[in-house]
């Protein structure tokens, strides 16, 4: 198809032609086109539908402030809703579709809403849809939700890669227009580390959109030459296609680089977008200004756009929305558009200027003191109706209307620390206020310096000032330096259905109603009418709404309020913030030293924090996990089993005050622990609640190895450092984690000693006398490998934990399996581990749940009153020591076939079942192969005194209700004879 509206000149590459699709029709474009410019070139004005009334919509702007021209880009799992046609670069094969319409863009059934617009005024839904109550979810809401929303997701996983990175500089320049380029030149030549970022794929900003010249060059040539010089400087990094999205604390800026959105497909491994965290000493905001529209009746038809955008399409993209256009303006800039378009052969129907003293032009008609009062054209503009100065009406035929209501400085990023812009009367606009993010300064149009020459100069000066440069500034080329005369003109009097927020369909009428109903603050206005809440965040609509509200209230605009902006500057894909941390890479994975061996054994793994641990080791023929787990338990208790317990935290505690230090962090005493001995320790939080438990092994007078639970390893280490550095700074104690350094295996069961004796080097006697229960020491194994041996037991059996340097862990496990064959050794996983500790009545994570005290855990007497330890004082508060305090007990079903469910609640055997009569709850439950029935650990009110009592165990959630007996938590070997065997 021919590009009917393609003009001469421009910055597109006519030497090559790209083909693309929109709503399943093929079109052609040139490299350098955006989807919007390409569609206009192909004489397509209708691009979308509005949110509420489904009114036909075309493009309003030529940039990221676009409220109307949004489409669904790409297909399949790469479908990308709500994409701005005005910033999307055309690539070969691009496929875009209009959205929020059915069945088609030209005929949209929900356009019926437009007919009922009188009912659908601001906030109408707060006043109805209330009867009957149940109908909201069933009827009203589904209809509203289906109609609402804009584009749609594919519902498939995003297949692209995303990345994150970090960059540092002395000066971050945001925006590569005249001010930004001059700033970069100034700082770059001075040798500073500079990053120049711009959201556009072509650096130059407005310079690429204007016809005037800078010095002897055209504006765009000067921009190109400057960019060429900058890219040759090693200390300057140019970041096109990069939007600085937010100014965060202490000079950290977020920036999104679109590395893959302008190509049809990415090479493998290359990210679609990169989220950069830019650390900079200074930032210079050169974000330019955004033209503002004028509200008038039916000002939302396709073909009606900002005059400056029209100029950008003509000068940069060599295209026009129509061959015959009119301009509606309140300032000279609108005339400039008419001149440029005419120079490109576009017919100017007229320039309609609200000012009686508007400049005349002999090349086209200027209607002074005139206003557009209405427009025609269902799917695209055909006529505008003008009220002339003398009150008479005139109808102009035109396919496009350029509107210019003056300019708003882009203060967006200056507000990111909630600073408020201030009103400037000369500009009739808000300019950056005093309370900018520290380190940020503003130059060029963003600071209210709207002339090109002014922008160039302020860019150079801004950079020099920000960096405190003494050197001479680069020469600033001669450029347009027109004086600014912005007499505000917000809307045409008497209009009602005049659009302010074109995407959300907020009209002048809605603002008036909002005022009438008392929603008069800016915040109330926005929330009640949804003004400025659309995907463009009101960049072109907030000011108009505010001005009209001010007029209603009879106040000035600054009195009425300001609207501040929040990050991000433009919307950012959620995946970009996610970066690489998705799927299996969401968190790092920690593997135990025996992992590869366990994998060979066909182990089933389970996530424990970031660790992967073997849960059980199924044998051929075992069809249910219980078979494997029961076997592992029985075999361990009958002979010997091995379990990788490397994941437990290990902290090396050394120093002459090591014992005194442990006395502080553990509620029980450690001062008198003999060298070569290990002791169980309970740690409290300062609020008296149990924090963690583990063992401390004394390897020397001044050397302990402390173990923590897997889950709390990091917190306990942090806590110990706190106690060491902040509470007892003069204690001679040094801490370091050794969790990863040692592969540690539990070897448990009556034959554990026999097995170990085959591995431990003969010079080390580990007989019961030489190495009794709770003994520990440094040894060697397998002919001289340094190792540590602890005689501790979680299973309740005769058991040891043996540790060797991690790199030998794999070999040690294989050796234990080989040498253990004669004892029928079995590897066991976390399930069997859990079963055995429940059988033994050892508290674990489910019991140390952050709300339980030593008393609850049945260790009340462990809290030494003879010394100061963290948490001991507050553990004595009355609320933690009530007579009917929860106590840990064992639970057995009266009927052996009944199941005990963790999370079930205990009730008196006879009596109501409700929250008021709740007696406690089951923390851990398992099937015990040793007792051949389900058992559980529970917290029960006054549990210590209730052994033998029969109670109801109820779990309405899982529809269980069984009779249980309260028993001792130590189901197996209560006297602990096996431990000491």
């Amino acid at each position: 198809m021919t590009q009917a509206n393609r003009l001469s000149g421009g910055l597109v590459d006519r030497n090559s032609t790209l083909s693309f699709r929109f709503d399943n029709r093929n079109y052609t474009a040139h490299p350098g086109d955006t989807l919007a410019s390409a569609l206009l070139a192909n004489d397509v004005r209708l691009i979308g539908r509005s949110f509420k009334y489904h009114r036909p919509r075309g493009v309003l702007t030529a940039g990221s402030e676009e409220p109307n021209g949004i489409v669904e880009l790409r297909t399949g799992n790469r479908q990308e809703p709500n994409t701005r046609a005005t910033t999307a670069e055309v690539y070969e094969g691009l496929d875009a579709r209009s959205q929020n319409r059915w069945p088609s863009l030209k005929f949209d059934a929900l356009a019926i809403n437009d007919r009922f617009s009188n009912f659908l005024t601001a906030g109408f839904y707060y006043k109805t849809f209330m009867w009957p109550a149940a109908f909201w979810e069933k009827l009203y809401e589904p209809i509203i939700r289906k109609a609402a929303g804009l584009g749609s997701l594919s519902m498939e996983d995003d297949p692209d890669e995303y990345d994150k990175g970090f960059r540092h500089c002395d000066l971050l320049i945001i925006g590569a227009g005249p001010a930004g380029l001059m700033a970069a030149l100034t700082a770059g030549r001075a040798g500073s580390e500079v990053i120049l970022a711009d959201e556009d794929f072509a650096l130059g900003g407005r310079l690429n959109s204007e016809s005037f010249s800078l010095g002897d060059d055209s504006a765009s040539d000067w921009a190109a030459a400057t960019v060429a010089e900058l890219s040759a400087l090693p200390n300057v990094r140019l970041m096109p296609r990069t939007t600085v999205i937010g100014a965060f604390d202490h000079g950290i800026y977020g920036a999104v680089e679109r590395t893959g959105d302008h190509v049809a497909a990415l090479p493998a491994g290359k990210p679609r977008q990169i989220l950069w965290r830019i650390y900079t000493k200074r930032a210079l905001l050169c974000a330019g200004a955004t033209e503002r529209p004028i509200a008038f009746e039916n000002n939302d038809r396709p073909g009606i756009m900002l005059a400056s955008a029209m100029r950008t399409y003509a000068n940069r993209f060599a295209t026009t929305a129509a061959q015959r256009v009119a301009i509606f303006t309140n300032n000279d800039d609108g005339h400039r558009t008419a001149i440029d378009l005419r120079a490109k052969g576009v017919k100017i129907a007229a320039v309609i200027d609200v000012r009686d003293d508007a400049p005349i032009n002999y090349d086209f008609e200027v209607l002074k003191g005139a206003q557009v009062v209405d427009t025609k054209g269902r799917l695209g503009l055909t006529f505008v109706e003008v009220a002339l100065a003398d009150g008479s009406r005139r109808v102009l035929e035109c396919g496009a209307l350029g509107v210019s209501g003056g300019w708003n400085p882009n203060v967006h990023l200056t507000c990111h620390h909630r600073g408020r812009p201030v009103w400037n009367d000369d500009l009739a606009a808000f300019v950056p206020g005093g309370d900018l993010p520290p380190g940020m300064t503003v130059a060029g149009a963003a600071n209210g310096t709207l002339s090109t020459h002014g922008a160039l100069l302020s860019g150079a000066e801004g950079a020099a000032k920000a960096l405190g440069l003494k050197c001479a500034l680069p020469d600033v080329p001669e450029a347009e330096d027109a004086a600014i005369n912005q007499t505000p003109f917000w809307y045409v009097k008497g209009c009602a259905r005049a659009w302010l927020d074109q995407q959300n369909d907020v009209t002048v009428k809605d603002v008036k109603l909002s005022h009438q109903e008392g929603f008069r603050s800016v915040e109330h206005l926005k929330r009640y009418t949804t003004l400025g809440m659309a995907t463009d965040q009101g960049k072109t609509s907030n000011m108009g709404g505010l001005a009209i509200m001010a007029e209603m209230a009879g106040k000035s605009i600054p009195e009425t309020g300001t609207t501040i902006f929040r990050p991000p500057y433009t919307p950012v894909p959620i995946a970009t913030f996610g970066g690489r941390m998705k799927g299996q890479d969401f968190h790092p994975t920690r593997l135990t030293p025996s992992h590869y061996w366990a994998k060979e054994r066909g182990a089933v793994f389970i996530e424990v924090g970031n660790w992967l641990r073997a849960q059980w080791f199924p044998l051929p023929g075992e069809t249910h996990w219980r078979e494997s787990v029961d076997r592992e338990v029985r075999q361990t208790r009958a002979s010997v089993g091995v379990c990788d317990c490397t994941t437990l935290g290990k902290i090396d505690v050394q120093g002459t005050d090591a014992a005194a230090f442990l006395n502080k962090v553990y509620c029980n005493g450690f001062a008198k622990l003999a060298v070569g001995k290990t002791r169980y320790g309970l740690m409290l939080r300062e609020d008296g609640i149990a924090m963690d438990d583990g063992t401390a092994a004394r390897l020397a007078e001044d050397h302990f190895v402390v173990t923590t639970t897997t889950a709390n390893a990091v917190n306990v280490y942090r806590h110990m450092e706190f106690v060491r550095q902040c509470l007892f700074p003069d204690m001679d104690v040094q801490l370091i984690s050794t969790t990863e350094a040692w592969a540690q295996y539990a070897v448990a069961g009556p034959n554990s000693r026999k097995l170990l004796q085959k591995i431990v080097d003969p010079e080390f006697d580990i007989s019961n006398d030489a190495f009794p229960f709770m003994g520990c020491g440094n040894i060697t194994v397998c002919g001289g490998l340094r190792a540590r041996l602890f005689r501790i037991s979680f299973s309740g059996e005769l058991a040891f934990e043996i540790a060797v340097p991690s790199r030998y862990g794999d070999a040690l496990m294989r050796r234990l399996m080989r040498d253990g064959e004669e004892f029928d050794v079995v590897p066991y996983g976390t399930e069997a581990l859990g079963v055995m500790r429940i059988e033994k009545g050892h508290a674990a994570g489910n019991e140390l749940n952050g709300t339980t005290t030593a008393l609850n855990l049945g260790m009340g007497r462990m809290v030494s009153k003879k010394k100061d330890s963290i948490g001991s004082t507050l553990s004595e508060r009355e609320g933690l020591n009530e007579p009917d305090a929860l106590m840990m007990v064992g639970i057995k079903p009266v009927n052996a076939d009944d199941k005990v469910t963790a999370g079930a609640h205990l009730m008196d055997a006879s009596g109501p079942v409700d929250a008021q009569h709740d007696q406690g709850y089951v923390t851990s439950a398992a099937f015990s192969p040793s007792l051949d029935c389900h058992i559980g650990l529970a917290f029960l009110k006054n549990g210590g005194a209730r052994q033998g009592e029969r109670m109801r165990l109820v779990s309405p959630l899982t529809e269980e209700n069984v009779e249980v007996e309260i028993v001792s938590a130590h189901f197996v070997d209560p006297e602990g004879e096996r431990l000491r065997a």
Partner: protein
Amino acid sequence: MRYSGFQVIKQVLTGHRGWIPAWRDPEPKAHYDIVIIGGGGHGLATAHYLAKVYGHRKVAVIEKGWIGGGNVGRNTTIIRSNYLLDGNEPFYEFSLKLWEGLEQDLNYNAMVSQRGILNLIHSDAQRDAYTRRGNAMILNGADAELLDAEQVRKECPFLNFDDARFPIKGGLAQRRGGTVRHDAVAWGYARSADGYGVDIIQNCEVSGFRIEDGKCLGVETSKGFIGAGKVGCAVAGNSGRVMGMAGMKLPIESHVLQAFVSEGLKPVLPGVITFGAGHFYVSQSDKGGLVFGGDLDGYNTYAQRGNLPVVEDVCEGGMALMPMIGRARLLRMWGGVMDMSMDGSPIIDRTPVDGLYFNGGWCYGGFKATPASGYCFAHLLAQDEPHPTATAYRLDRFRTGRMIDEKGVGNQPNLH
């Protein structure tokens, strides 16, 4: 003026000329029976129930800015009563019941949408804990349902089941949970309270309390002194600052919680979903935006803005849980300042100062609590004793060791 479909039609026919302000804009009187500091959700709800349930009409709500500008306008709009502990569950269930009748009670459509909330389970220990919680909910008269992985997959096929670092093993569902149009809650309560004669005084900042021999006589404000028989403070987020004027130190820290909304999308999510292995929860608004959030920034702050690390952390969680939202764009982020209490639970109680009452410490549970908080605070103000469902929310519970610690992280506010 009563709102109804009929009223709308009538106004359409008369060019909408008849609509009147939703609430008056009165000047403060010299004295009120009860003055409530804070025109947020809780303060306005308190006024509504004081007037409607307890018959107090000489009531003023004073707000330093515009009503509903605090956390009721800056949250993720979720309502639920899926709590574990005795001190909490009855209160939040009472709140959920009030939500269920709210629109008829207020004659204002706050779009209470009971689309359900689903807490995902990723480990056996988590299933045990959620089982205990679900049972506690049912024993307290709330609804709860335990789902296995297959049931979750059926309801939310778009979740990451096949390539998850922390596989989904099930979920705890509360079907009666859901979302509410948050701003409308403040406006609805304000309009109703105003209708009963309550004065809502905006742009009136409290500068101090007038306290004589241990009794609070009223408040000094930017609009002059306002006398009061009783003063109720409901300014969560600023509790420390305001109660400090009464010489009180609170077991509360101020922290910022960020929230996020995406561009409008056609319906993709059935209800509220929370990730059990990362900091991410999400729902979809009636306008189509994905409304989501995660963890606190974690440092004391009064600035209503956050920083990048948490933004990334939340989106990482989102991508890990539902990679199909990757191409949806984050449109807007904002921060609300939370009253983070020392056990993660709120305070509704008298204070050592006679005639001064306190409501705060809502952490990030404040929005869902709005109706019950207002109701219970009104009850306390009117009858000088705690409402039956709020008896545990005492100011002295930390001294006595009767904390209500749902998360079990102790006296560390930024972990709750």
